[in-house]
């Protein structure tokens, strides 16, 4: 009895404090949050026509696309963005032969040591090397980019909400702000930043990088901006999760076996309980 009385008193005290000192003052000054002006400019993420081949439970890598995406990364992104968790040897997983990987690695320069003098030098990369950092350190990277650090791209599609569509959209999101909205909100893109309707705060430190015809593809694919963005996005989806397709395929095998096993377990369970079940009137 005492516990219950004490419980009731404590409960009423807690609720009283909450209601009188937090709930009521809050309710009296209730104000719905106002979205900042720039929310008016934001747009829903887009995806390429037909989506990506690796999406969905039955997805597969399109290795030709991944190789095109790699060439875009190499020619465009790699001047500012690192890919530090990916090694050149991994390129074999997207369809390059061992010899091609060795040649591809050798076309990159990575930091090394001169065996004669012991000095730091740049040497051609080996397949076991990881992709090099484009800047010697974070400070240099910031200074070269208007104080904004270009993020590492190895995990970018997993490190953003709906990352695959985000990366694809962001590359294509550089537009002129809607003049009507600009007039209404008095919006202005700060100096050194670039307007992008998919960036969380609308203003992005990276200028537009991807244009129609920016690269030429050896396989004859037409290099429209959409195509280039889709290709590099697919490549980055692979760098973020190289085991994605293996994961899904393993999943089907495991799932199939578990369904079979559970069906047997169910029959066995029913068999054990046969005759024990209630005959409710």
């Amino acid at each position: 009895m005492t516990i219950r009385l004490a419980g009731i008193i404590v409960g009423l005290v807690i609720t009283g404090i909450l209601v009188l000192w937090s709930l009521l003052p809050g309710a009296l000054n209730y104000s719905a949050p106002e979205k900042p002006d720039y929310y008016a400019f934001k747009e829903e993420l887009i995806e390429p026509a037909g989506g990506f081949s690796f999406e969905g439970p039955l997805g597969k890598w399109d290795t030709a696309q991944l190789q095109r995406g790699y060439s875009v990364y190499k020619q465009v992104c790699s001047s500012c963005h690192s890919l530090q968790y990916v090694a050149f040897r991994n390129l074999q997983e997207i369809g390059f032969s061992e010899a091609e990987v060795r040649a591809e690695a050798a076309s990159w320069q990575v930091p090394g040591i001169d065996p004669q003098t012991g000095e730091s030098i740049m040497r051609p990369a080996e397949p076991t090397d990881h992709f090099p950092m484009p800047y010697p350190n974070k400070t240099a990277a910031r200074l070269a980019n208007n104080n904004a650090y270009p993020p590492d791209l190895s995990l970018i599609t997993k490190a953003r909400p709906d990352g695959v569509h985000y990366v694809y959209s962001l590359n294509l999101g550089y537009k002129e702000p809607d003049p009507e909205l600009v007039e209404k909100t008095g919006f202005e893109t700060p100096t050194g930043l670039y307007f992008n309707v998919y960036f969380p705060s609308i203003n992005l430190a990276m200028p537009q990088q991807i244009y129609d015809g920016l690269v030429t593809y050896p396989d004859g694919t037409e290099p429209t901006a959409e195509q280039i963005s889709a290709d590099v996005t697919a490549f980055l989806a692979w760098t973020a999760e190289p085991k994605m397709i293996q994961r899904k395929q393993t999943g089907w095998v495991v799932l199939g076996f578990l369904l079979f096993m559970t069906a047997l377990a169910f029959l066995s369970y029913k068999q054990v309980w046969a005759g024990m079940k209630p005959k409710k009137k």
Binding site: E126, M261, S268, Q271, V272
Partner: protein, 194 residues
């Protein structure tokens, strides 16, 4: 793992009239099947737990080591690292070559000639792993001033294995000669191991 619940012996529910000749209730097969499936699932689950301890992809990835031999004088040796293991590259003097060639190969525990263990025309460059074939210690003899053993090659202090100037086991417990890794000359004075 997945089998704990699926096992059950025969139960009182089966009709005794369904006993077959062996005395097994016919309907028991479903319990046996469910239990077996659980067993298969358990074995399947153990597989990744065991295989994760095997070398990972970065360890397995074949790496190479380049060694510059241009500054290597006869009688000297250099130590390098190849796939996390010590690598000895030794430039033999003519006397050492002669000494190695003078041995009757048939008397050796692991019969190999010096020519077998070097590249054609580059007989003075002996490239071996610096790993004793007995239990994996690093033999002495590569650095100047180190004991070279009774046969003037390498000496492993752990259990007293002696290697000759061709890196062949001559005395002590080492069962085979020092391993010659795969390598080739990329130029006249550099080799790529691996």
């Amino acid at each position: 793992m997945a089998n704990s619940g699926a096992d059950m012996g025969g139960t009182a529910t089966a009709d005794p009239n369904m006993l077959d000749e062996e005395g097994v209730r016919r309907r028991d097969w479903i319990h046996i099947a469910a239990l077996s499936a659980g067993g298969v699932a358990a074995v399947g689950a153990v597989y990744p737990l065991v295989s994760q301890m095997a070398p990972s992809a970065d360890v397995l990835a074949a790496s190479t080591t380049d060694v510059d031999l241009s500054t290597l004088e006869p009688g000297m040796a250099i130590k390098e690292t190849f796939r996390s293991q010590p690598l000895f590259v030794r430039r033999l003097t003519p006397e050492e070559i002669a000494e190695a060639d003078a041995v009757d190969v048939s008397t050796l525990r692991d019969p190999e000639t010096l020519a077998d263990r070097t590249k054609e025309g580059k007989k003075e460059f002996l490239v071996t792993l610096g790993v004793c074939t007995h239990l994996g210690c690093v033999p002495l003899g590569a650095a100047s001033g180190e004991e070279k053993g009774e046969f003037g090659g390498y000496f492993c202090p752990c259990h007293g294995s002696h290697y000759d100037t061709a890196g062949r086991t001559r005395k002590g417990p080492a069962p085979t000669n020092l391993v010659v890794p795969e390598y080739q000359f990329t130029t006249d004075t550099t080799i790529r191991v691996g």
